[in-house]
Protein backbone atom coordinates (compact mmCIF):
# COMPACT_ATOMS: atom_id res chain seq x y z
CA UNK A 1 0.00 0.00 0.00
CA UNK A 2 1.47 3.37 -0.95
CA UNK A 3 2.19 5.96 1.73
CA UNK A 4 0.38 9.24 1.18
CA UNK A 5 1.88 12.53 2.35
CA UNK A 6 0.92 13.44 5.92
CA UNK A 7 1.36 16.60 7.96
CA UNK A 8 3.64 15.77 10.87
CA UNK A 9 2.08 17.74 13.74
CA UNK A 10 4.28 20.32 15.47
CA UNK A 11 2.58 19.81 18.84
CA UNK A 12 3.52 16.92 21.10
CA UNK A 13 1.76 15.81 24.26
CA UNK A 14 3.44 14.07 27.19
CA UNK A 15 1.24 12.53 29.86
CA UNK A 16 2.71 11.66 33.23
CA UNK A 17 0.22 10.98 36.00
CA UNK A 18 0.28 11.66 39.74
CA UNK A 19 -1.55 8.61 40.99
CA UNK A 20 -3.24 8.85 44.41
CA UNK A 21 -2.25 6.00 46.76
CA UNK A 22 -3.04 7.54 50.16
CA UNK A 23 -5.90 5.20 51.12
CA UNK A 24 -3.71 2.12 50.71
CA UNK A 25 -0.25 3.65 51.17
CA UNK A 26 0.67 0.93 53.71
CA UNK A 27 1.05 -1.46 50.78
CA UNK A 28 3.86 0.68 49.35
CA UNK A 29 5.33 1.40 52.81
CA UNK A 30 5.43 -2.35 53.58
CA UNK A 31 7.16 -3.08 50.29
CA UNK A 32 9.94 -0.71 51.36
CA UNK A 33 10.25 -2.86 54.52
CA UNK A 34 10.37 -6.00 52.40
CA UNK A 35 6.87 -7.25 53.25
CA UNK A 36 4.11 -8.10 50.78
CA UNK A 37 0.71 -7.28 52.29
CA UNK A 38 -2.83 -6.68 51.13
CA UNK A 39 -6.25 -5.68 52.45
CA UNK A 40 -8.77 -7.82 54.31
CA UNK A 41 -12.31 -6.53 54.90
CA UNK A 42 -13.01 -6.25 58.65
CA UNK A 43 -16.69 -6.86 58.03
CA UNK A 44 -16.81 -9.92 55.75
CA UNK A 45 -13.20 -11.12 55.79
CA UNK A 46 -12.75 -10.86 52.01
CA UNK A 47 -9.07 -10.58 51.04
CA UNK A 48 -8.44 -8.45 47.96
CA UNK A 49 -5.48 -7.98 45.69
CA UNK A 50 -4.75 -5.32 44.49
CA UNK A 51 -5.42 -3.78 47.92
CA UNK A 52 -8.55 -1.66 48.10
CA UNK A 53 -9.97 0.44 50.90
CA UNK A 54 -13.61 -0.38 50.13
CA UNK A 55 -14.69 -4.01 49.99
CA UNK A 56 -16.02 -4.99 46.54
CA UNK A 57 -17.89 -7.93 48.10
CA UNK A 58 -19.86 -6.34 50.96
CA UNK A 59 -19.10 -2.63 50.31
CA UNK A 60 -17.72 -2.26 53.83
CA UNK A 61 -15.17 0.51 54.37
CA UNK A 62 -13.18 -0.93 57.31
CA UNK A 63 -10.19 -3.09 56.55
CA UNK A 64 -7.01 -4.52 58.04
CA UNK A 65 -3.68 -5.51 56.47
CA UNK A 66 -2.67 -9.14 56.07
CA UNK A 67 0.78 -10.46 55.17
CA UNK A 68 0.64 -12.74 52.12
CA UNK A 69 3.98 -14.36 52.95
CA UNK A 70 6.49 -15.22 50.22
CA UNK A 71 5.50 -18.55 48.74
CA UNK A 72 3.32 -18.75 45.66
CA UNK A 73 2.83 -21.15 42.76
CA UNK A 74 3.00 -20.32 39.09
CA UNK A 75 -0.41 -20.17 37.42
CA UNK A 76 0.57 -18.88 33.98
CA UNK A 77 3.31 -16.82 32.35
CA UNK A 78 4.65 -15.21 29.19
CA UNK A 79 7.89 -13.77 27.87
CA UNK A 80 7.56 -10.32 26.31
CA UNK A 81 9.81 -9.85 23.27
CA UNK A 82 8.24 -6.67 21.88
CA UNK A 83 8.05 -4.01 24.60
CA UNK A 84 5.87 -0.87 24.79
CA UNK A 85 7.35 2.58 24.06
CA UNK A 86 8.03 3.48 27.70
CA UNK A 87 9.98 0.21 28.19
CA UNK A 88 11.99 0.72 24.99
CA UNK A 89 15.46 -0.82 25.06
CA UNK A 90 14.71 -3.36 27.78
CA UNK A 91 15.76 -6.96 27.22
CA UNK A 92 12.93 -9.48 26.77
CA UNK A 93 11.23 -10.07 30.12
CA UNK A 94 8.98 -12.66 31.69
CA UNK A 95 5.70 -11.95 33.44
CA UNK A 96 3.78 -14.40 35.60
CA UNK A 97 0.58 -14.72 37.56
CA UNK A 98 1.30 -16.43 40.85
CA UNK A 99 -1.17 -17.77 43.42
CA UNK A 100 -0.65 -17.54 47.18
CA UNK A 101 -1.84 -20.31 49.54
CA UNK A 102 -4.93 -18.27 50.49
CA UNK A 103 -5.99 -18.11 46.82
CA UNK A 104 -4.95 -14.52 46.17
CA UNK A 105 -3.34 -14.09 42.75
CA UNK A 106 -0.75 -11.48 41.78
CA UNK A 107 0.77 -10.46 38.43
CA UNK A 108 4.45 -9.47 38.39
CA UNK A 109 7.72 -9.88 36.51
CA UNK A 110 9.26 -13.34 36.80
CA UNK A 111 13.02 -13.54 37.27
CA UNK A 112 15.51 -16.36 37.60
CA UNK A 113 13.52 -18.88 35.55
CA UNK A 114 14.19 -19.74 31.92
CA UNK A 115 11.14 -19.67 29.69
CA UNK A 116 11.74 -23.28 28.64
CA UNK A 117 11.79 -24.41 32.26
CA UNK A 118 8.78 -22.40 33.43
CA UNK A 119 5.73 -24.55 34.08
CA UNK A 120 2.33 -23.91 35.64
CA UNK A 121 2.37 -25.35 39.16
CA UNK A 122 6.04 -24.63 39.90
CA UNK A 123 6.99 -22.89 43.14
CA UNK A 124 7.79 -19.18 43.20
CA UNK A 125 8.64 -16.64 45.85
CA UNK A 126 7.76 -12.98 45.81
CA UNK A 127 10.39 -10.39 46.49
CA UNK A 128 9.90 -6.72 47.38
CA UNK A 129 12.26 -4.32 45.66
CA UNK A 130 12.96 -0.75 46.38
CA UNK A 131 15.69 1.10 44.66
CA UNK A 132 17.09 4.42 45.82
CA UNK A 133 15.01 7.31 44.51
CA UNK A 134 12.54 4.97 42.79
CA UNK A 135 9.08 3.65 43.61
CA UNK A 136 8.98 0.25 45.35
CA UNK A 137 7.82 -2.76 43.34
CA UNK A 138 7.86 -6.55 43.53
CA UNK A 139 8.93 -9.52 41.43
CA UNK A 140 8.46 -13.27 41.44
CA UNK A 141 11.55 -15.48 41.49
CA UNK A 142 11.87 -19.19 40.89
CA UNK A 143 11.94 -20.84 44.34
Amino acid sequence: MSEEPTLHSNRSLTLRFNIPVSRTHEFWDSLRDGRFVTTKCSQCGNVTFPPQADCPKCMGGEFEWVDLGREAKLVTFTRVQVAPASFAGSDPYMIAIGEFPNGVKVLARLEGVEQKKAKPGMRLSIEARSEKGGNPYYVFRGA
Binding site: M1, E3, E4, P5, T6, S9, I19, F49, P50, V75, T76, F77, T78, R79, V80, Q81, V82, A83, P84, A85, S86, F87, A88, S90, Y93, I95, I97, K105, V106, L107, A108, R109, Q115, K119, P120, N135, Y137, Y138
Partner: protein
Protein backbone atom coordinates in the same frame (compact mmCIF):
# COMPACT_ATOMS: atom_id res chain seq x y z
CA UNK B 1 -41.92 -3.67 21.64
CA UNK B 2 -40.72 -3.02 18.11
CA UNK B 3 -38.19 -5.24 16.37
CA UNK B 4 -35.03 -3.55 15.10
CA UNK B 5 -33.23 -4.28 11.83
CA UNK B 6 -30.01 -3.35 10.08
CA UNK B 7 -31.14 -1.71 6.84
CA UNK B 8 -27.93 -0.15 5.57
CA UNK B 9 -24.27 -1.13 5.77
CA UNK B 10 -20.97 0.52 4.87
CA UNK B 11 -17.33 -0.54 5.25
CA UNK B 12 -14.09 1.23 4.42
CA UNK B 13 -10.95 -0.48 3.22
CA UNK B 14 -8.95 -1.53 6.31
CA UNK B 15 -5.20 -1.07 6.56
CA UNK B 16 -2.61 1.64 7.04
CA UNK B 17 -4.69 4.54 5.77
CA UNK B 18 -2.32 7.49 5.56
CA UNK B 19 -4.56 8.89 2.80
CA UNK B 20 -7.46 9.95 5.06
CA UNK B 21 -8.10 11.67 8.39
CA UNK B 22 -10.64 10.33 10.89
CA UNK B 23 -13.60 12.30 9.48
CA UNK B 24 -12.84 11.24 5.92
CA UNK B 25 -12.31 7.64 6.98
CA UNK B 26 -15.62 7.48 8.87
CA UNK B 27 -17.41 9.09 5.92
CA UNK B 28 -16.34 6.26 3.62
CA UNK B 29 -18.59 3.87 5.53
CA UNK B 30 -21.27 6.36 6.63
CA UNK B 31 -21.92 7.50 3.04
CA UNK B 32 -22.18 3.90 1.88
CA UNK B 33 -24.50 2.88 4.75
CA UNK B 34 -26.84 5.85 4.26
CA UNK B 35 -27.01 5.15 0.48
CA UNK B 36 -27.57 1.45 1.09
CA UNK B 37 -30.43 2.22 3.48
CA UNK B 38 -31.93 4.79 1.11
CA UNK B 39 -32.71 6.96 4.10
CA UNK B 40 -32.66 10.74 4.33
CA UNK B 41 -30.05 11.89 6.85
CA UNK B 42 -32.67 14.09 8.55
CA UNK B 43 -34.40 10.85 9.69
CA UNK B 44 -31.33 9.80 11.67
CA UNK B 45 -31.99 11.20 15.14
CA UNK B 46 -29.28 9.28 16.93
CA UNK B 47 -25.63 8.71 15.92
CA UNK B 48 -23.46 6.55 18.16
CA UNK B 49 -19.74 6.57 17.45
CA UNK B 50 -17.66 3.67 18.79
CA UNK B 51 -13.97 4.47 19.07
CA UNK B 52 -11.22 3.99 21.62
CA UNK B 53 -9.17 6.97 20.47
CA UNK B 54 -6.02 8.63 21.85
CA UNK B 55 -3.88 7.40 18.90
CA UNK B 56 -5.25 10.08 16.63
CA UNK B 57 -5.48 13.83 17.04
CA UNK B 58 -9.15 14.41 17.78
CA UNK B 59 -10.44 14.44 21.37
CA UNK B 60 -14.11 14.62 20.38
CA UNK B 61 -14.35 12.16 17.51
CA UNK B 62 -18.15 11.88 17.47
CA UNK B 63 -18.74 15.54 16.67
CA UNK B 64 -15.86 15.66 14.18
CA UNK B 65 -17.29 12.65 12.34
CA UNK B 66 -20.83 14.07 12.41
CA UNK B 67 -19.71 17.46 11.15
CA UNK B 68 -17.87 15.89 8.22
CA UNK B 69 -20.88 13.77 7.28
CA UNK B 70 -23.44 16.58 7.68
CA UNK B 71 -25.03 14.89 10.68
CA UNK B 72 -24.54 17.67 13.26
CA UNK B 73 -27.78 18.20 15.13
CA UNK B 74 -28.47 14.51 15.69
CA UNK B 75 -28.23 13.28 19.26
CA UNK B 76 -24.79 11.76 19.58
CA UNK B 77 -22.21 10.25 21.87
CA UNK B 78 -18.91 8.47 21.64
CA UNK B 79 -18.90 5.07 23.36
CA UNK B 80 -15.90 3.08 24.53
CA UNK B 81 -15.68 -0.62 25.25
CA UNK B 82 -12.07 -1.01 24.04
CA UNK B 83 -11.98 -3.39 21.07
CA UNK B 84 -15.73 -3.94 21.49
CA UNK B 85 -16.54 -0.23 21.10
CA UNK B 86 -18.20 -1.00 17.75
CA UNK B 87 -20.60 -3.49 19.32
CA UNK B 88 -21.25 -1.02 22.13
CA UNK B 89 -22.19 1.56 19.47
CA UNK B 90 -24.57 -0.94 17.87
CA UNK B 91 -26.09 -1.75 21.25
CA UNK B 92 -26.63 1.92 22.09
CA UNK B 93 -28.15 2.60 18.65
CA UNK B 94 -30.39 -0.48 19.07
CA UNK B 95 -31.49 0.81 22.49
CA UNK B 96 -32.34 4.25 21.09
CA UNK B 97 -34.83 2.59 18.74
CA UNK B 98 -36.16 0.06 21.29
CA UNK B 99 -36.85 2.90 23.69
CA UNK B 100 -39.05 4.59 21.10
CA UNK B 101 -36.79 7.61 21.01
CA UNK B 102 -36.18 7.38 17.25
CA UNK B 103 -37.08 5.17 14.28
CA UNK B 104 -33.68 5.43 12.62
CA UNK B 105 -30.24 5.38 14.25
CA UNK B 106 -26.70 5.15 12.93
CA UNK B 107 -23.89 3.14 14.54
CA UNK B 108 -20.40 4.09 13.40
CA UNK B 109 -17.17 2.38 14.37
CA UNK B 110 -13.93 4.12 13.49
CA UNK B 111 -10.28 4.00 14.51
CA UNK B 112 -7.02 5.46 13.28
CA UNK B 113 -4.19 3.59 15.01
CA UNK B 114 -1.29 4.42 12.73
CA UNK B 115 -0.98 8.18 13.23
CA UNK B 116 1.39 7.48 16.13
CA UNK B 117 4.43 5.18 15.90
CA UNK B 118 3.94 1.46 16.59
CA UNK B 119 5.65 1.38 20.04
CA UNK B 120 3.25 4.12 21.18
CA UNK B 121 0.27 2.09 19.95
CA UNK B 122 1.69 -0.96 21.75
CA UNK B 123 1.97 1.20 24.87
CA UNK B 124 -1.63 2.45 24.67
CA UNK B 125 -3.07 -1.06 24.30
CA UNK B 126 -0.66 -2.41 26.92
CA UNK B 127 -2.27 0.00 29.38
CA UNK B 128 -5.69 -1.53 28.65
CA UNK B 129 -6.21 -3.33 31.91
CA UNK B 130 -5.43 -2.12 35.43
CA UNK B 131 -2.65 0.42 34.95
CA UNK B 132 -0.84 0.38 38.30
CA UNK B 133 -0.93 -3.40 38.78
CA UNK B 134 -0.22 -4.57 35.25
CA UNK B 135 1.63 -1.85 33.41
CA UNK B 136 3.52 0.68 35.56
CA UNK B 137 6.16 -1.71 36.92
CA UNK B 138 5.75 -4.66 34.60
CA UNK B 139 5.22 -3.48 31.04
CA UNK B 140 2.39 -5.75 29.94
CA UNK B 141 1.52 -5.68 26.26
CA UNK B 142 -1.67 -6.75 24.55
CA UNK B 143 -0.13 -9.94 23.15
CA UNK B 144 1.24 -10.66 26.64
CA UNK B 145 -2.24 -10.63 28.20
CA UNK B 146 -3.47 -13.19 25.68
CA UNK B 147 -0.22 -15.15 25.96
CA UNK B 148 -1.09 -15.76 29.64
CA UNK B 149 -4.31 -17.40 28.43
CA UNK B 150 -2.51 -19.33 25.67
CA UNK B 151 0.02 -20.86 28.08
CA UNK B 152 -2.75 -21.91 30.44
CA UNK B 153 -4.92 -23.40 27.66
CA UNK B 154 -1.95 -25.27 26.18
CA UNK B 155 -0.96 -26.60 29.56
CA UNK B 156 -4.45 -27.73 30.54
CA UNK B 157 -5.86 -29.03 27.24
CA UNK B 158 -2.83 -29.86 25.12
CA UNK B 159 -3.54 -27.14 22.56
CA UNK B 160 -0.41 -26.60 20.46
CA UNK B 161 1.34 -23.71 18.73
CA UNK B 162 0.48 -25.45 15.47
CA UNK B 163 -3.25 -25.44 16.32
CA UNK B 164 -3.01 -21.68 16.81
CA UNK B 165 -1.08 -21.24 13.56
CA UNK B 166 -3.82 -23.08 11.66
CA UNK B 167 -6.26 -20.36 12.72
CA UNK B 168 -3.95 -17.72 11.22
CA UNK B 169 -3.68 -19.70 7.98
CA UNK B 170 -7.49 -19.88 7.77
CA UNK B 171 -7.80 -16.14 8.42
CA UNK B 172 -5.37 -15.30 5.63
CA UNK B 173 -7.09 -17.70 3.23
CA UNK B 174 -10.36 -15.80 3.61
CA UNK B 175 -8.66 -12.42 3.86
CA UNK B 176 -7.31 -13.10 0.37
CA UNK B 177 -10.95 -13.20 -0.81
CA UNK B 178 -11.93 -9.94 0.89
CA UNK B 179 -11.12 -6.81 -1.16
CA UNK B 180 -11.46 -4.63 1.97
CA UNK B 181 -8.97 -6.64 4.06
CA UNK B 182 -5.61 -5.30 5.21
CA UNK B 183 -3.81 -8.53 4.22
CA UNK B 184 -5.08 -10.19 1.06
CA UNK B 185 -2.42 -12.85 0.88
CA UNK B 186 -2.44 -16.49 1.88
CA UNK B 187 0.23 -17.78 4.24
CA UNK B 188 1.59 -21.26 4.96
CA UNK B 189 1.63 -23.05 8.29
CA UNK B 190 5.46 -22.97 8.18
CA UNK B 191 5.49 -19.22 7.68
CA UNK B 192 3.12 -18.67 10.62
CA UNK B 193 5.10 -20.99 12.91
CA UNK B 194 8.41 -19.46 11.86
CA UNK B 195 7.40 -15.83 12.47
CA UNK B 196 9.11 -13.93 15.30
CA UNK B 197 7.77 -14.29 18.85
CA UNK B 198 6.04 -11.17 20.22
CA UNK B 199 4.98 -12.59 23.60
CA UNK B 200 5.72 -16.28 23.94
CA UNK B 201 4.01 -18.48 22.79
CA UNK B 202 2.34 -15.93 20.51
CA UNK B 203 4.13 -14.98 17.32
CA UNK B 204 3.68 -12.19 14.81
CA UNK B 205 1.26 -14.35 12.80
CA UNK B 206 -0.82 -15.10 15.89
CA UNK B 207 -1.56 -11.39 16.22
CA UNK B 208 -3.84 -8.95 14.43
CA UNK B 209 -2.17 -5.85 12.94
CA UNK B 210 -2.52 -2.19 13.91
CA UNK B 211 -5.14 -0.84 11.54
CA UNK B 212 -7.13 2.15 10.38
CA UNK B 213 -10.69 1.68 9.23
CA UNK B 214 -14.37 2.39 9.67
CA UNK B 215 -17.70 0.59 9.39
CA UNK B 216 -21.27 1.85 9.71
CA UNK B 217 -24.77 0.44 10.06
CA UNK B 218 -28.15 2.14 9.76
CA UNK B 219 -30.71 0.63 12.15
CA UNK B 220 -34.47 1.08 11.90
CA UNK B 221 -37.64 0.16 13.75
CA UNK B 222 -39.78 -2.64 12.27
CA UNK B 223 -42.25 -0.32 10.55
CA UNK B 224 -39.58 1.84 8.95
CA UNK B 225 -37.29 -1.12 8.18
CA UNK B 226 -39.99 -2.82 6.11
CA UNK B 227 -40.53 0.38 4.10
CA UNK B 228 -36.81 0.97 3.52
CA UNK B 229 -35.54 -2.52 2.80
CA UNK B 230 -36.49 -5.78 1.09
CA UNK B 231 -33.82 -7.56 3.08
CA UNK B 232 -33.82 -6.15 6.60
CA UNK B 233 -31.51 -8.16 8.88
CA UNK B 234 -33.07 -8.35 12.32
CA UNK B 235 -31.23 -7.95 15.58
CA UNK B 236 -32.59 -10.98 17.38
CA UNK B 237 -30.71 -10.72 20.62
CA UNK B 238 -27.82 -8.92 22.26
CA UNK B 239 -25.95 -10.18 25.31
CA UNK B 240 -23.22 -8.26 27.03
CA UNK B 241 -21.09 -8.70 30.10
CA UNK B 242 -17.81 -7.68 31.67
CA UNK B 243 -14.98 -8.98 33.82
CA UNK B 244 -12.38 -7.59 36.24
CA UNK B 245 -9.81 -5.03 35.10
CA UNK B 246 -7.04 -7.07 36.76
CA UNK B 247 -6.38 -10.41 35.11
CA UNK B 248 -5.09 -11.61 38.49
CA UNK B 249 -8.67 -11.49 39.82
CA UNK B 250 -9.98 -13.96 37.22
CA UNK B 251 -10.72 -17.52 38.29
CA UNK B 252 -8.99 -19.17 35.30
CA UNK B 253 -7.07 -18.44 32.08
CA UNK B 254 -8.59 -20.97 29.72
CA UNK B 255 -11.62 -18.98 28.57
CA UNK B 256 -13.21 -15.54 28.80
CA UNK B 257 -16.04 -15.75 31.30
CA UNK B 258 -17.54 -12.44 30.18
CA UNK B 259 -17.79 -13.78 26.63
CA UNK B 260 -19.41 -17.03 27.75
CA UNK B 261 -21.89 -15.05 29.82
CA UNK B 262 -22.62 -12.60 26.98
CA UNK B 263 -23.20 -15.58 24.67
CA UNK B 264 -25.65 -17.21 27.06
CA UNK B 265 -27.53 -13.95 27.43
CA UNK B 266 -27.65 -13.45 23.65
CA UNK B 267 -28.82 -17.03 22.98
CA UNK B 268 -31.55 -16.69 25.54
CA UNK B 269 -32.66 -13.24 24.28
CA UNK B 270 -32.81 -14.61 20.72
CA UNK B 271 -34.26 -17.96 21.85
CA UNK B 272 -31.73 -19.90 19.78
CA UNK B 273 -28.90 -22.29 20.57
CA UNK B 274 -25.30 -22.52 19.29
CA UNK B 275 -26.23 -25.29 16.84
CA UNK B 276 -28.71 -22.95 15.08
CA UNK B 277 -26.01 -20.51 13.94
CA UNK B 278 -25.04 -20.65 10.23
CA UNK B 279 -22.08 -18.28 10.33
CA UNK B 280 -20.14 -16.35 12.97
CA UNK B 281 -17.48 -13.74 13.43
CA UNK B 282 -15.30 -14.32 16.49
CA UNK B 283 -12.96 -11.82 18.07
CA UNK B 284 -9.58 -13.16 16.91
CA UNK B 285 -7.28 -10.33 18.01
CA UNK B 286 -4.99 -13.30 18.66
CA UNK B 287 -5.37 -16.86 17.40
CA UNK B 288 -5.85 -18.13 20.97
CA UNK B 289 -8.78 -15.70 21.31
CA UNK B 290 -10.59 -17.32 18.38
CA UNK B 291 -9.95 -20.78 19.79
CA UNK B 292 -11.33 -19.81 23.19
CA UNK B 293 -14.31 -18.15 21.45
CA UNK B 294 -15.34 -21.50 19.92
CA UNK B 295 -15.57 -22.87 23.44
CA UNK B 296 -17.11 -19.78 25.06
CA UNK B 297 -19.79 -19.66 22.34
CA UNK B 298 -20.64 -23.33 22.79
CA UNK B 299 -19.55 -24.32 19.25
CA UNK B 300 -17.66 -27.15 20.96
CA UNK B 301 -17.07 -28.40 24.48
CA UNK B 302 -14.57 -26.72 26.78
CA UNK B 303 -11.07 -27.78 25.85
CA UNK B 304 -12.05 -29.03 22.38
CA UNK B 305 -11.38 -25.85 20.40
CA UNK B 306 -8.20 -27.29 18.91
CA UNK B 307 -10.09 -30.36 17.71
CA UNK B 308 -12.55 -28.10 15.85
CA UNK B 309 -9.61 -26.40 14.12
CA UNK B 310 -7.87 -29.67 13.22
CA UNK B 311 -11.10 -31.00 11.68
CA UNK B 312 -11.64 -27.80 9.66
CA UNK B 313 -15.11 -27.38 11.17
CA UNK B 314 -14.83 -23.59 11.27
CA UNK B 315 -14.13 -23.25 7.54
CA UNK B 316 -16.73 -22.79 4.80
CA UNK B 317 -18.34 -26.21 4.41
CA UNK B 318 -17.62 -27.09 8.04
CA UNK B 319 -20.10 -27.26 10.90
CA UNK B 320 -19.80 -23.58 11.84
CA UNK B 321 -17.78 -21.27 9.55
CA UNK B 322 -16.02 -18.57 11.59
CA UNK B 323 -14.36 -15.37 10.34
CA UNK B 324 -14.74 -16.00 6.64
CA UNK B 325 -14.06 -12.28 6.10
CA UNK B 326 -10.45 -12.82 7.21
CA UNK B 327 -11.14 -11.99 10.86
CA UNK B 328 -9.22 -9.38 12.79
CA UNK B 329 -6.06 -11.25 11.87
CA UNK B 330 -6.18 -10.67 8.10
CA UNK B 331 -8.99 -8.14 7.60
CA UNK B 332 -7.38 -5.86 10.20
CA UNK B 333 -8.49 -4.59 13.60
CA UNK B 334 -9.17 -0.86 13.79
CA UNK B 335 -10.46 -1.44 17.31
CA UNK B 336 -13.52 0.84 17.41
CA UNK B 337 -14.57 -0.25 13.91
CA UNK B 338 -14.35 -3.99 14.49
CA UNK B 339 -17.75 -4.69 16.12
CA UNK B 340 -19.60 -2.80 13.40
CA UNK B 341 -17.43 -4.43 10.71
CA UNK B 342 -18.42 -7.85 12.07
CA UNK B 343 -22.12 -6.92 11.95
CA UNK B 344 -21.65 -5.66 8.37
CA UNK B 345 -20.07 -9.00 7.37
CA UNK B 346 -22.85 -11.05 8.98
CA UNK B 347 -25.47 -8.81 7.34
CA UNK B 348 -23.84 -9.46 3.94
CA UNK B 349 -23.82 -13.18 4.64
CA UNK B 350 -27.48 -13.25 5.71
CA UNK B 351 -28.48 -11.17 2.66
CA UNK B 352 -26.61 -13.71 0.51
CA UNK B 353 -24.30 -10.98 -0.77
CA UNK B 354 -20.92 -12.34 0.40
CA UNK B 355 -19.81 -13.54 -3.06
CA UNK B 356 -16.94 -16.06 -2.99
CA UNK B 357 -17.07 -16.08 0.80
CA UNK B 358 -20.80 -16.87 0.97
CA UNK B 359 -21.67 -19.51 3.55
CA UNK B 360 -24.65 -21.82 2.87
CA UNK B 361 -27.58 -20.68 5.02
CA UNK B 362 -29.91 -23.08 6.78
CA UNK B 363 -31.68 -21.16 9.48
CA UNK B 364 -30.60 -17.69 8.37
CA UNK B 365 -28.91 -16.94 11.69
CA UNK B 366 -25.53 -15.29 12.21
CA UNK B 367 -23.55 -14.36 15.29
CA UNK B 368 -21.15 -11.54 16.16
CA UNK B 369 -18.73 -12.16 19.04
CA UNK B 370 -16.79 -9.02 19.95
CA UNK B 371 -14.47 -8.78 22.94
CA UNK B 372 -13.00 -5.61 24.45
CA UNK B 373 -9.56 -5.78 26.04
CA UNK B 374 -8.70 -9.24 27.39
CA UNK B 375 -12.29 -10.26 28.04
CA UNK B 376 -12.86 -7.05 29.97
CA UNK B 377 -15.93 -6.29 27.86
CA UNK B 378 -17.88 -8.82 25.85
CA UNK B 379 -20.75 -8.39 23.38
CA UNK B 380 -22.53 -11.13 21.48
CA UNK B 381 -25.11 -10.09 18.89
CA UNK B 382 -27.36 -12.52 17.05
CA UNK B 383 -28.69 -11.45 13.65
CA UNK B 384 -31.47 -13.10 11.67
CA UNK B 385 -32.80 -13.02 8.11
CA UNK B 386 -36.35 -13.64 9.36
Amino acid sequence: MTRVAIVGIGHSRFGRRTDVNVGELAFESIGEAVDDAGVDRSEIKSVIVGTMGSWYEESLPAVVVNEYAGLSGAGTMRVEAACASGSAALKAAYNSILSGETDVALAVGVEKMTEVDSPTSVELIGRAGSYMWEFENFGMTFPAYYALYAVSHMSRYGTTEEDLARIAVKAHRYGAMNPLAQFQKEITLEKALGSPVVAWPLKLYDACPLSDGSAAAVLASEEVAKKLSDTPIWIKGVGYSSDTANLSRRSNYVGLEAAAQAANRAYSAAKVSPGDIDVATAHDCFTIAELMAYEDLGFCKKGEGAKLVREGQTEIGGRIPVNVDGGLKAKGHPVGATGVSMAVEITKQLRGEAGRRQVPLKKGLGLVHNVGGTGHYAYVTILSRD
